[in-house]
């Protein structure tokens, strides 16, 4: 009896890091093109995991499955305790409020101003909010990324780095628990890339998010990730801390660090 009372807290302490995303035996193919083959993946609460892999290895497909934009052929995807593949539209929307997705191409709405872009998720998710609160949230989000002055501009008037920041602000405006970043620094110059990485790390800290960061930018991974998962041929090839992988002698791993 005495022993049992002691072991329960002990076990809880070990599993205190509950997974917010767990993927088991995920398969996804497009026609004859098998993209994900028996993929397994875990993201613990508060953790930032980078997913590394060649172009076309299915990284974007993986996170699109997580958010329910793509239906997997088989396998389980558990997000915040809910099985994504079995949810109906309404439940899926409720999960999506808590999971932010930063798109590879930013996906800012061309026909809307920056303000309207940021208001879009607020308005559309049936969130009870007054115009004043909404405006405050928009300005807060923009201040976070240092772009409060662009509020009435159109996305086309902004530079690539600014657009990435606006997209980041739009994703964070709902205060998500989980962030999915799809190549946040690709297509930016190294300096801007570093700024974005730092911003991601800062905001992750500030809002206490867990995140999946897809990237082949080593600087970005080093700044933002606690753990690195390497995807090769639709499977998790290996994983570890950045420094561990860097020292690896495996040629498949080494090629990313050159």
């Amino acid at each position: 009896m005495q022993a049992e009372q002691e072991t329960i807290p002990f076990i809880q302490r070990v599993t205190a890091q509950q997974p917010v995303i767990s993927i088991h035996h995920l398969y996804k193919s497009f026609g004859t093109n098998a993209v994900l083959i028996d993929l397994n993946f875990l993201l613990n609460k508060g953790e930032n995991v980078a997913v590394l892999g060649k172009s076309g290895s299915g990284k974007s497909v993986m996170i699109k499955c997580i958010i329910g934009l793509l239906r997997p052929d088989s396998g389980e995807i558990n997000v915040l305790g809910k099985e994504v593949t079995t949810l109906n539209q309404e439940e899926l929307d409720r999960i999506r409020v808590r999971v932010g997705f930063l798109f590879q191409s930013n996906a800012l709405y061309d026909s809307m101003t920056v303000r309207e872009n940021l208001e879009f998720p607020l308005r559309r998710h049936w969130i009870q909010i007054t115009p004043a609160e909404s405006n405050e949230k928009v300005m807060d989000a923009l201040t976070n990324v240092g772009l409060a002055h662009t509020v009435d501009m159109m996305p086309a008037e902004l530079s690539g780095g600014m657009r990435k920041r606006i997209a980041l602000a739009r994703t964070l405006i709902l205060n998500p628990d989980i962030m999915l970043y799809d190549e946040p620094t690709t297509g930016l110059d190294p300096i801007t890339g570093r700024e974005i990485s730092q911003l991601m790390a800062e905001l992750g800290e500030k809002y206490n998010t867990s995140s999946v960061i897809i990237s082949h930018d080593m600087n970005c991974i080093r700044t933002t990730a606690d753990r690195v998962v390497m995807l090769i041929d639709g499977r998790c090839y290996t994983e570890g801390k950045y420094e561990e992988l860097k020292k690896s002698n495996d040629p498949n791993v080494k090629q990313f660090f050159e």
Partner: protein, 256 residues
């Protein structure tokens, strides 16, 4: 029998398009209704094409009148000019030309807009923001196109007839009232209704094809261009096919 690649593609496209259209009817009339976006699209679609359609309509009426006149004089029925031009414009030329211009202007812009939204992941972004992009983008645009084209055709017909009235007055003299009395005397209900009804189908076809092409755009700027282009080509072709079908149907119904 093995079908050639071209035919396979043709049947695949047709099947996909039918599925897309089915989706419109299956989802389009269930909540949540996107009224704000629908009215915005009505305004944009109607307003954007108004100057072009007005101008072409005017020229059309004028030119038709000037060209018909010598032939009618040859037959000695010059006085029938307003009646003939009226019937030609209201029954056939007005709806078809307006629809073709509408396809060029609106079909291509819908194709390009949705295409670029597709390739830059804006459609995905809408979906994760608690919005059904099919309803928000496709249903609103298709309905707006379906309802706005008939309005544009009526306006265009009116402007065409006015152009024709001016055309008559270049060589002869007719009063405004007499001209339009002659036109409306020549037109019967059975002239107007099929011509009016088919414009809804034209508008639907332009909206649907534009959205289909854009929504299924291939990656890259080239893909977007191709979507816009084939939206115009396919919807123009469809306009003629619908026109043909409507003629047959109204014939069978004895409306002609």
């Amino acid at each position: 029998m093995v079908l050639s690649k071209t035919w396979q593609n043709f049947f695949r496209e047709t099947g996909e398009m039918s599925r897309f259209t089915w989706r419109f009817f299956a989802h389009g009339f269930k909540p949540r209704y996107e009224f704000a976006e629908f009215f915005r699209q009505c305004f944009l679609i109607g307003y954007k094409s108004l100057p072009l359609i007005g101008l072409t309509g005017f020229i059309l009426g004028l030119v038709l009148t000037l060209q018909l006149r010598p032939s009618l004089i040859d037959y000695g029925v010059e006085s029938q000019l307003p009646a003939m031009v009226g019937i030609a414009i209201v029954r056939e030329i007005g709806p078809v030309i307006t629809a073709l211009i509408f396809a060029g202007k609106i079909g291509s812009s819908i194709g390009a807009e949705l295409g670029s939204m597709k390739v830059t992941e804006q459609i995905d972004a809408m979906e994760v923001s608690g919005t059904n992009p099919f309803k928000y983008l496709v249903v609103t645009r298709v309905l707006a196109a379906t309802l706005m084209l008939p309005v544009l055709v009526i306006l265009s017909d009116g402007i065409s007839l006015y152009g024709s009235y001016l055309g008559v007055n270049i060589r002869g003299i007719t009063s405004f009232n007499l001209f339009f009395k002659q036109v409306f005397d020549a037109l019967s209900f059975s002239d107007l209704s099929p011509a009016f009804i088919k414009t809804f189908f034209f508008g639907f076809a332009v909206g649907m094809i534009g959205c289909y092409k854009g929504y299924n755009s291939q990656k890259g700027t080239e893909g977007v261009g191709r979507s816009a282009n084939s939206a115009v080509v396919v919807s123009s072709l469809l306009i003629f096919i619908i026109d043909l079908v409507v003629v047959q149907v109204t014939d069978i119904l004895g409306l002609n």
